[in-house]
């Protein structure tokens, strides 16, 4: 009687080995897991908890109007974070650009002039930020703090000069930035494509990441570290200036707190996207894109779910700490290189 040949069953050790290997792969690529997994979880949880209101036509428009300025700012800021820099002047510079945009628009009625002035002003602020940091040897956080105070001071001074709000007099001129969701989508796509190209396929992006991993090594490889950092700040400035026009179009007027807290939104968005603040080779534009969307979904979803606004900041803060912990925790086999 012939014995039927049976396939040898998989040994338990092999299954355990596969699981271990999967776990190790997950740990080594945890940034991607955080990026896409976080997005999926937020989307699913709030899709269910809001009973579908998250996807109502009105709310999708709201999401678009909130995502657009944050996403454009975040993809610009990736260039700074990638080389290990830090910036906390986003909100103040954005507010200053919005203020100047209102003045220019009311004086000239030209949208093009507004765009140019806003971008140039942001580039100027960020260039000064970089120059202070590099030439005086200050930590990038300190130099950005100085820019933040200066910009915030200018805004407060201007707002205090009048008892009425500083507002756009002809709101229809900027209506495309606030009411056209197709335009917002196109602007996001353009910003992502341009920054992705610069970051992934040009020397600027590659050298920025190299500096983030090891500035000494990057310098010895031929990278002009100061110039690369300056160009990164310029790219960030262009993005901030562009996004500021969307911000002011959405609000229509300037208060002394305009842009306040925006820097934290950008940092949280980028971290939610799985990017480490120390930068380096694992920096991705996709982190900013996915992170921005996740962040806005989180804020919007919590609100739609009926969570009191008293707890929203608490929840965001807790999430931020968890993700920072996950992204900062290094594999013990990874050598911590000198910076």
């Amino acid at each position: 009687m012939k014995k039927e040949r049976t396939m040898p069953s998989e040994a338990p050790e092999q299954s355990a080995g596969k699981l271990r290997s999967l776990w190790e792969q997950l740990i080594s690529d945890r940034n991607s897991f955080i990026r896409y997994g976080g997005f999926a979880v937020v989307l699913l949880v709030f899709a269910l908890s809001t009973g579908g209101r998250l996807f109502s036509s009105y709310n999708l428009k709201v999401l678009m109007s909130q995502i657009t300025p944050l996403l454009i700012m975040s993809v610009g800021m990736v260039f700074i974070f990638a080389h290990g820099g830090m910036d906390i002047s986003v909100g103040a510079v954005s507010g200053l650009c919005s203020l100047v945009s209102v003045y220019v628009l009311n004086a000239t009625g030209s949208v093009l002039a507004v765009l140019l002035v806003s971008i140039l002003l942001a580039v100027l602020c960020y260039s000064i930020n970089c120059l202070i940091s590099e030439f005086f040897g200050l930590m990038s956080t300190i130099s950005s703090l100085a820019i933040m105070f200066a910009a915030r001071g200018i805004i407060t001074f201007n707002v205090a000069q009048t008892s009425e709000a500083i507002r756009i007099q002809q709101t229809k001129l900027l209506s495309v930035f606030s009411d056209s969701y197709l335009f917002m989508a196109l602007a996001c796509v353009l910003a992502v494509l341009v920054t992705w190209f610069l970051f992934s396929f040009t020397k600027l992006g590659k050298q920025a990441r190299a500096i983030g991993d090891n500035p000494l090594s990057a310098r010895q490889s031929g990278a002009n570290v100061n110039l690369v950092k300056l160009l990164c700040y310029v790219v960030a400035g262009v993005c901030i200036g562009f996004a500021s026009v969307f911000s002011i179009a959405r609000v229509g007027s300037v208060s002394e707190n305009i842009g306040s807290g925006r820097e934290m939104d950008v940092i949280i968005a980028v971290i939610l996207g799985g990017m480490t603040l120390s930068g380096g080779c694992k920096s991705r534009i996709s982190s900013a894109v996915i992170g921005s969307i996740t962040f806005v979904l989180l804020s919007n979803g919590l609100s739609l779910s009926g969570v009191s606004s008293l707890y929203v900041s608490l929840i965001k803060g807790a999430l931020f700490l968890i993700i920072v912990f996950l992204t900062l925790r290094q594999n013990k086999n990874v050598l911590e290189l000198p910076r």
């Binding site: 991607s32 896409y36 997005f39 999926a40 989307l43 699913l44 899709a47 809001t50 009973g51 579908g52 209101r53 998250l54 996807f55 109502s56 036509s57 009105y58 709310n59 999708l60 709201v62 109007s65 909130q66 205090a160 000069q161 009048t162 008892s163 009425e164 709000a165 500083i166 507002r167 007099q169 709101t171 911000s247 959405r250 609000v251 229509g252 007027s253 300037v254 208060s255 002394e256 707190n257 305009i258 842009g259 306040s260 807290g261 804020s299 919007n300 609100s303 739609l304 009926g306 009191s308 606004s309 008293l310």
Partner: protein, 382 residues
């Protein structure tokens, strides 16, 4: 490859969810009304919320609360969230980003009313200060603002001056919020100064000082006042006197300086008993909420007041002042009553001034009801 497949699956899931769940949501049996304030933890927030709970128990409405920051962006984001939640009307504490807010509400078919301040049809923007129409002010979805102090802020200044004269105060500083945030402050100050000059020519009222909403800036103004006028014996605290100016005086170790405060909190009783606070007062938040609700409820039901004209942009609400311990007792019993059924405006009284529930209701009657002083309310209660 695996990552690409995962991303594709995720996108497919998102699209599927969007298509499948768009338009879903529980059927609304009650009408949602959003309420926007800076916070709901102070007396203002608590009183408004308490009266809203009372209204919820008596009308087919529910309230959704949203605390926002003072900047325009936070206000717009908060408003968007409320509109996304399906609110059909918004009670906004402030006229922050007014034109934009009205435009958003108009797009969403939602009514909008400003609860804690009056609005005007024109503004005078810098730098040329030419009058400019406020966009959207004529929209049918904008139900107007709310004029405080019963429409006569000077009366508060007169009452406070009489108490100051009685108390024998001679050297009085005055601190308030900036004019753009508290337009009535100047009128109260001028009336106070003029009345005190008549009652006590020897008394001196110093120039009005302003600060921008933070304790640190208030401390700076109080420090400046005391440095410039060491003989000061009282402060007319028009900028949340109890919440900002009293702590500033304590920080200067000058709790001996009396306070004529606009404001009310749990410390008023003990401070008035000790003589540290001579006067106090606050908006009647029941009247404010009732006024806003009446306009909203009528608008939602397609009704309007026959006697309300385009010039009647703002409703009028009262401002009870506390000049004595008896006033304080009445205030606690009526104005901040825990049981709103016994508060400044009952449901029956409110229904009598809404066209939806009383076809003969008038705009004048609404404003009369919502600007009654404590004595009139007591008389109405019998």
């Amino acid at each position: 490859m695996k990552k690409a497949i995962s991303i594709l699956l995720l996108c497919a899931l998102m699209v599927g969810l969007c298509v499948g769940m768009s338009g879903c949501g529980s059927k609304q049996e009650t009408t949602k009304i959003g309420v926007i304030l800076y916070n709901f933890t102070d007396i203002q927030g608590k009183e408004i919320q308490a009266y809203c709970d009372y209204l919820k128990a008596n009308f087919p409405v529910e309230f959704v609360y949203r605390a926002v920051g003072s900047n325009d962006e936070d206000h717009i984001s908060g408003l968007q969230d409320l509109l996304s939640q399906g609110c059909k009307a918004i009670i906004s504490g402030y006229d922050t980003a007014l034109s934009k807010s009205i435009a958003m509400c108009e797009e969403a078919g939602c009514y909008y009313v400003v609860a804690l301040g009056s609005v005007s049809a024109v503004e005078f923007p810098a730098p040329d200060y030419q009058p400019t129409p406020v966009e959207g002010i004529e929209s049918k979805y904008f139900l107007g603002g709310t004029t405080q102090f019963g429409g006569d802020p000077a009366a508060v200044g007169v009452a406070y001056a009489q108490k100051a004269a009685e108390a024998g105060l001679k050297h009085i500083g005055a601190i308030t919020f900036p004019t753009f945030a508290f337009a009535e402050g100047q009128a109260i100050y001028e009336a106070f100064k003029a009345t005190l000059a008549q009652l006590n020519p020897d008394a001196e009222v110093y120039d009005l000082q302003e600060f921008m909403f933070t304790q640190e800036l208030c401390n700076a103004e109080v420090t400046a006042l005391i440095s410039n006028h060491p003989e000061v014996d009282a402060v007319l605290g028009l900028g949340s006197g109890l919440d900002f100016i009293r702590p500033a005086l304590q920080a200067q170790n000058r709790a001996d300086i009396k306070l004529l405060a606009l404001g009310y909190n749990d410390t008023v009783q003990s401070l008035m008993e000790s003589g540290s606070v001579i006067t106090a007062g606050t908006n009647n938040y029941t009247q404010i909420t009732a006024s806003c609700f009446a306009r909203i409820y009528d608008a939602l039901n397609g009704n309007s007041y026959a006697d309300r004209t385009a010039e009647d942009l703002n409703a009028v609400v009262g401002y009870p002042v506390i000049l004595s311990m008896d006033d304080l007792a009445d205030f606690q019993q009526i104005v901040v009553a825990a049981d709103k059924a016994n508060s400044s405006i009952t449901v029956d009284e409110l229904k009598s001034v809404m066209v939806t529930t009383n076809k003969d209701a008038t705009w004048a009657a609404l404003n009369e009801l919502t600007s009654r002083d404590v004595a009139a309310i007591k008389a109405a209660r019998g």
